[in-house]
C-alpha cells in the first residue's frame, strides 16, 4: 500500500512501520483470522483496518486519539501474521507504533495509575506475590470495585501454591547432552511454580543441565506490547547482561516471554546494543522446540489412556511458528490421544495484559475458547503459556466445567514419573 509516512522525521522506528504498511495490499485475508473482527465485526477492529489507521496517524491525517481505541483493542495475537499471504510484519508494526504513540497519548489519571500498577507489579514476582495475596483478600470486596479492577481479581487462583526458590543450577541426569539457560518468567513463578520445576525435571531427564541466571529480569514483553518502550528496554538490558554465553540455548517455557525475548532485535532498533540484541534473540527457543531438536528420551506409556486437547498459545503458534513441536512431545507419550480444538487458531483473549485492559472482549473470547475446548471431550488440557492457562481455567470455572489443565512439560514430567 502506498503511504506518505515521513520516515526521516520519525527515525529508525519509522522505517520499521513504513515497511509493514508498504507490504499490506488490503486484501482482507486477515479478517477471518482476527479475534476482534470475529467478535466486533467492524473494519477498524481488523488488522488491515488498524494498518490503515496507523498509517493515517503516522502521515498526520488523523488524530492519534481517534485511532487509539481500535489500536488498543488489538490483542497482539498475530493470528493475522499467520494468515497474511503478503508477509506483512504486523507484530513489528503494532509494537513499534504503540511505543511511538504512548508518549503522545492522553490518558485519564485512573488509566495511568492502572497501567502503572500493572507495570510495577507483574514483572516482579515478589511484589506480584504480595499483590496476589492482597487480591485474594480483595475478592471479598469485588462487587464494590470499579469494573476495571474486577477483571484482574477474577484471574487469581483461590489459593497460591507454595513457591520454593528456584536453584541457580539444576544438573542433568546421566551423561550431559546439553547446557541451557532458563528464563523463569514472572507471573508463572507466582501462579504456577510447578511449571518451572516440571521443566527442570524434564530437561534433567533428557540429559540437559540448566542454569537460571539470578540477575535475570522480566522479559519486558508486556511493557513492549503496551507501548512502554523505556521500561522494556531497561528490563531487556538487564537480561542481555545476565544471560551467559556458555550455553547451547536460552530457553523459555512461557510462550509470551519466549516471543518477547525473540523480539529484542526489534526493541533495540536504533539503540547501540542492537546487534547484540539480535544475536541474543537468535539464541532463544521455546523449551518444546529445543527438546524436539535434541531428541526426546521416550517417556513410559500411560497406565490409562488419556485424551488431551492441546491449546496453541498465540505467542507460540503465530509469533514463533511453534505448532508441531509440543504436539510431537505429547504424542511421544504412549496411550495419550491428542485432539485438536475447533477454531484453534483463535486467541483465548488472555494476550499478556489484555484481559486486564479489555476485559469485555477478553471474556467473550475466553468463553468461546472454553466452549470449543469442551466440545472436544478432552479429559485434560495442555498448553505452553501461563496467560492462556489462567484465562482458560477461569472461563472453564465460570461455566462450571473444570477440566484438569497442565503445561505441556508438566504432562511430560508426570509421564516420566509414572504418575499419569
Amino acid at each position: 500500500m502506498q503511504h506518505k509516512i515521513d520516515t526521516q522525521s520519525i527515525g529508525p522506528q519509522g522505517e520499521v512501520m513504513a515497511h509493514a504498511v508498504e507490504a499490506c495490499v488490503h486484501c482482507g485475508f486477515c479478517l477471518p483470522a482476527c479475534p476482534t473482527y470475529a467478535v466486533l465485526g467492524e473494519e477498524m477492529d481488523s488488522p488491515r483496518g488498524r494498518i490503515f489507521l496507523m498509517k493515517e496517524v503516522l502521515e498526520g491525517n488523523l488524530q492519534l486519539e481517534e485511532a487509539a481505541p481500535y489500536i488498543d483493542k488489538c490483542l497482539g495475537c498475530l493470528g493475522c501474521v499467520t494468515a497474511c499471504p503478503s508477509g506483512v510484519p504486523y507484530g513489528e508494526l503494532i509494537s513499534t507504533f504503540r511505543g511511538w504513540a504512548e508518549p503522545r497519548r492522553h490518558r485519564s489519571p485512573f488509566a495511568r495509575a492502572f497501567r502503572l500498577g500493572i507495570m510495577e507489579l507483574l514483572p516482579y514476582p515478589k511484589r506480584f506475590r504480595a499483590g496476589a495475596q492482597l487480591g485474594r483478600i480483595g475478592k471479598v470486596f469485588k462487587p464494590l470495585l470499579p469494573q476495571a479492577l474486577q477483571a484482574p481479581l477474577e484471574l487469581l487462583p483461590e489459593r497460591l501454591e507454595p513457591a520454593p526458590p528456584l536453584p541457580e543450577f539444576f544438573p542433568a541426569k546421566g551423561p550431559r547432552r546439553a547446557r541451557v539457560a532458563l528464563l523463569a518468567g514472572c507471573a508463572q513463578q507466582v501462579l504456577k511454580p510447578n511449571f518451572n520445576w516440571a521443566t527442570l525435571r524434564v530437561l534433567a531427564e533428557n540429559g540437559v543441565e540448566v542454569v537460571i541466571p539470578s540477575g535475570q529480569a522480566c522479559c519486558g514483553a508486556a511493557a513492549m506490547h503496551t507501548g512502554e518502550r523505556g521500561r522494556a528496554l531497561a528490563l531487556a538490558r538487564q537480561n542481555l547482561k545476565a544471560f551467559p554465553n556458555d550455553v547451547d540455548a536460552i530457553l523459555s517455557n512461557a510462550a509470551g516471554c519466549g516471543s518477547g525475548l525473540r523480539e529484542y532485535g526489534l526493541l533495540f532498533v536504533g539503540e547501540p546494543e542492537h546487534e547484540a540484541a539480535e544475536a541474543f534473540s537468535k539464541r532463544v527457543q521455546d523449551v518444546s522446540a529445543f527438546l524436539v531438536n535434541l531428541g526426546l528420551v521416550e517417556p513410559p506409556a500411560l497406565k490409562q489412556p488419556l485424551k488431551v486437547a492441546y491449546h496453541d498459545a498465540c505467542h507460540l503458534a503465530h509469533a514463533q511458528g511453534v505448532r508441531s513441536e509440543p504436539r510431537k512431545l505429547l504424542r511421544s507419550i504412549g496411550g495419550l490421544e491428542l485432539v485438536e480444538i475447533p477454531e484453534g487458531e483463535l486467541c483465548c483473549g488472555s494476550a499478556g495484559t489484555y484481559n486486564l485492559e479489555q476485559p469485555a472482549i477478553a471474556a467473550t473470547l475466553g468463553e468461546r475458547k472454553a466452549r470449543n475446548i469442551l466440545a472436544t471431550g478432552a479429559q485434560a488440557i495442555a498448553t505452553g503459556n501461563i496467560g492462556c492457562f489462567t484465562q482458560i481455567q477461569s472461563h472453564l470455572r465460570k461455566l462450571r466445567r473444570e477440566v484438569p489443565m497442565y503445561h505441556t512439560l508438566e504432562i511430560l514430567d508426570l509421564a516420566y514419573q509414572g504418575k499419569l
Binding site: C27, R50, F52
Partner: protein
C-alpha cells in the same frame, strides 16, 4: 450530528452507526487501495428490517449508498460514494437453513463463501464457486460480482449456483427473485440481479445450490520451461475431450511469490506451472487420469507431479490461492487485472502481454484460470516513483483493449466497479449501454445504489491520493 444522521440514530444503536473519522477511515477502500473515499457514515445492520429502514432513509434524504460485504473487491466495487452511506452487511452472517435432501442452503448476505461448504460438509455436500478469496468474501459480494474461481471451468460461476434471492430494492420494497427450485417461471430476473454490482438493490437472503462432494480428485502439477508450452497444454487438454474441474497457470513471478508466502513446494526453476484437476466418481476419474497423463506427457512438461493425498492437493492449491496477495512480497504496489480471451488465443495474448510489459518497463506476473481464458495479469509498480502508477494503469488499459480485440472481455469475475467503467464502451455499443442505464433507472430512479460505478460517464470517481486519475486526464471520466 446533522438532523438526517440523528434520524439514522433512531434505527441504529451508537455502536452500529459509525461516524467518527477513526471509524470511517478503515472503510475508505476495498482491496483496490488506489481509490479512496470518505463516507458520511457506516451502518452495520443486523436484520432485514434495518436494511429496509436504511434504504428508506437514503431515499428520503437522497443519500447515495454502497453495500459492503468483506470489502475484497478488486475493482473499487465496494468503494464508498464520497459523502454517502456504507451499509456493512458482514454482521448479517447467519446460516438460515440447510436442507441436505433438497441440497440447498439459505444464507444471509454476510455469510462467508467457505463457511457454506464447511456447513454442508457433514452431509457430503459443498458449494462449488471457489474464488481465491473464499475464506473472506461474502455470498452477497459474490452474488453482486458473479464471482468465479478455479473450479468454475466445470461448474460455472456464482450465477449457476444461486437459486433465489430476497432483495431490498432501492425503493425500499422487498422482492423475491428466482425460486427454490431449478425451474422458474418467466424471465430470469434473478439473472439480471446477479452481477449487477450492487446497483439494483441489496440482497438480504440468498438461496444457494449445493453439490455432492466429488468422490475423488486427481490433481496434477506440471512444470514447463515456457509460458507458451503451458498455454498450449491447456488447449491440448481441452482438445482431447477432457473436462477437468480446474486448469490454472502461474508464471515464474507468481511462482516465486506464492512459494515465498506459503512454501507450496513448487519447482522454482519453472517458467510456468500448470495445475489440472480432475474430479468426480472414482472409476471415471481413474480412467480420465490415464488419458490426462498421456496428454501432459506429450505437452513438453519437464516435471510432472501428482498429489498423492489430500494434504498434497491442499498444498498445491494453497500456493495458487495465495498468489495474488503474495505478489505484495515482490513489489510495493501492484494492480490486479482481470480480462478474458478465447482459450485458443491464450498463447497470443500472453506473448502480447510480455511485449507490453517490456515496452512499459514494468514487470507483469501472470496467474490465471487458463481453462476459461480468464487472465489475471498483476502489474507490478512502485507508487513512490513518480508517474509509475499512471504507467501501470495505462499498461492495464492496453491489456484490456487487447482482450477485447481478441474477442474476449474486460472482466472475467472481478467486476467493473470503479476501475473498469471507462472501458465499458470498448465492449458495449451506445445502445447496449443506454438500455442498461434505463433498466437501472427503472429500478433506482435517483441512482442512489452504488452511484458512480459500472457505467461510464456516471458520477466521477473519488479523489485518489495521487491527483487526477489517468482516465480523467484523458477526458474519459470526470468529477463534478
Amino acid at each position: 450530528m446533522n438532523p438526517a444522521l440523528s434520524e439514522l440514530g433512531r434505527i441504529y444503536p451508537p455502536e452500529r452507526l459509525l461516524v467518527q473519522p477513526g471509524q470511517l477511515v478503515p472503510y475508505e477502500s476495498d482491496a483496490l487501495t488506489a481509490f479512496r473515499a470518505r463516507p458520511l457514515a457506516v451502518v452495520l445492520p443486523e436484520t432485514t428490517d434495518e436494511v429496509v429502514q436504511t434504504i428508506g432513509w437514503c431515499a428520503r434524504h437522497k443519500v447515495p449508498y454502497v453495500a459492503r460485504g468483506s470489502g475484497t473487491s478488486l475493482s473499487g466495487g465496494s468503494l464508498p460514494v464520497e459523502g454517502g452511506l456504507v451499509i456493512g452487511l458482514n454482521r448479517m452472517n447467519k446460516l438460515l437453513r440447510l436442507d441436505p435432501a433438497e441440497r440447498v442452503a439459505v444464507v444471509q448476505p454476510g455469510f462467508i463463501n467457505l463457511e457454506v461448504s464447511n456447513a454442508a460438509a457433514p452431509y457430503g455436500l459443498y458449494y462449488a464457486p471457489d474464488p481465491s478469496s473464499q475464506p473472506v468474501s461474502t455470498i452477497g459480494g459474490n452474488l453482486a460480482f458473479n464471482s468465479g474461481g478455479a473450479h468454475c471451468l466445470k461448474y460455472g460461476m456464482t450465477s449457476n449456483h444461486v437459486l433465489g434471492a430476497k432483495v431490498v430494492l432501492p425503493t425500499g420494497e422487498i422482492v423475491e427473485l428466482g425460486s427454490q427450485s431449478l425451474e422458474g417461471v418467466g424471465p430470469d430476473w434473478l439473472g439480471l440481479f446477479v452481477g449487477s454490482e450492487g446497483l439494483m438493490g441489496i440482497a438480504v437472503e440468498v438461496t444457494l445450490r449445493l453439490l455432492p462432494k466429488p468422490e475423488k480428485y486427481h490433481t496434477v502439477l506440471a512444470a514447463y520451461d515456457s509460458l507458451e508450452k503451458a498455454g498450449n497444454a491447456v488447449a491440448a487438454v481441452v482438445a482431447s475431450g477432457l473436462l477437468p474441474g480446474a486448469m490454472e497457470i502461474m508464471d515464474h513471478l507468481a511462482i516465486e511469490a506464492a512459494e515465498a508466502a506459503v512454501k507450496a513446494g513448487y519447482p522454482m526453476d519453472a517458467r510456468a506451472l500448470l495445475i489440472v484437476e480432475l474430479e468426480g466418481e472414482a472409476p471415471e476419474v481413474e480412467a480420465e487420469a490415464r488419458h490426462l497423463g498421456d496428454v501432459i506427457a506429450a505437452s513438453g512438461a519437464y516435471e510432472v507431479r501428482v498429489a498423492r493425498d489430500a494434504d498434497e492437493r491442499a498444498k498445491i492449491w494453497k500456493g495458487r490461492k495465495a498468489a495474488f496477495s503474495a505478489v505484495g512480497r515482490l513489489s510495493p504496489d501492484y494492480l490486479v487485472q482481470d480480462g478474458v480471451v478465447p482459450r485458443s488465443k491464450l498463447g497470443q495474448a500472453l506473448l502480447e502481454i510480455e511485449r507490453l510489459s517490456q515496452q512499459y518497463g514494468l514487470r507483469v506476473a501472470n496467474v490465471f484460470h487458463a481453462g476459461d481464458g480468464n487472465l489475471h495479469p498483476l502489474i507490478l509498480y512502485d507508487g513512490k516513483v513518480k508517474g509509475q502508477l499512471e504507467q501501470a494503469e495505462a499498461l492495464a488499459g492496453e491489456i484490456l483493449k487487447l482482450c477485447v480485440s481478441l474477442g474476449g472481455s474486460i472482466t472475467g469475475e472481478h467486476g467493473v466497479g470503479m476501475e473498469k467503467k471507462a472501458y465499458m464502451p470498448a465492449m458495449f455499443s451506445q445502445a447496449d449501454l443506454a438500455l442498461m442505464r434505463r433498466i437501472r433507472r427503472a429500478v433506482d430512479p435517483d441512482e442512489l445504489a452504488n452511484r458512480g460505478k459500472m457505467f461510464p460517464h456516471s458520477e466521477a470517481p473519488a479523489l485518489t491520493p495521487h491527483g487526477p486519475h489517468p482516465l480523467e486526464k484523458a477526458g474519459v471520466i470526470w468529477r463534478e
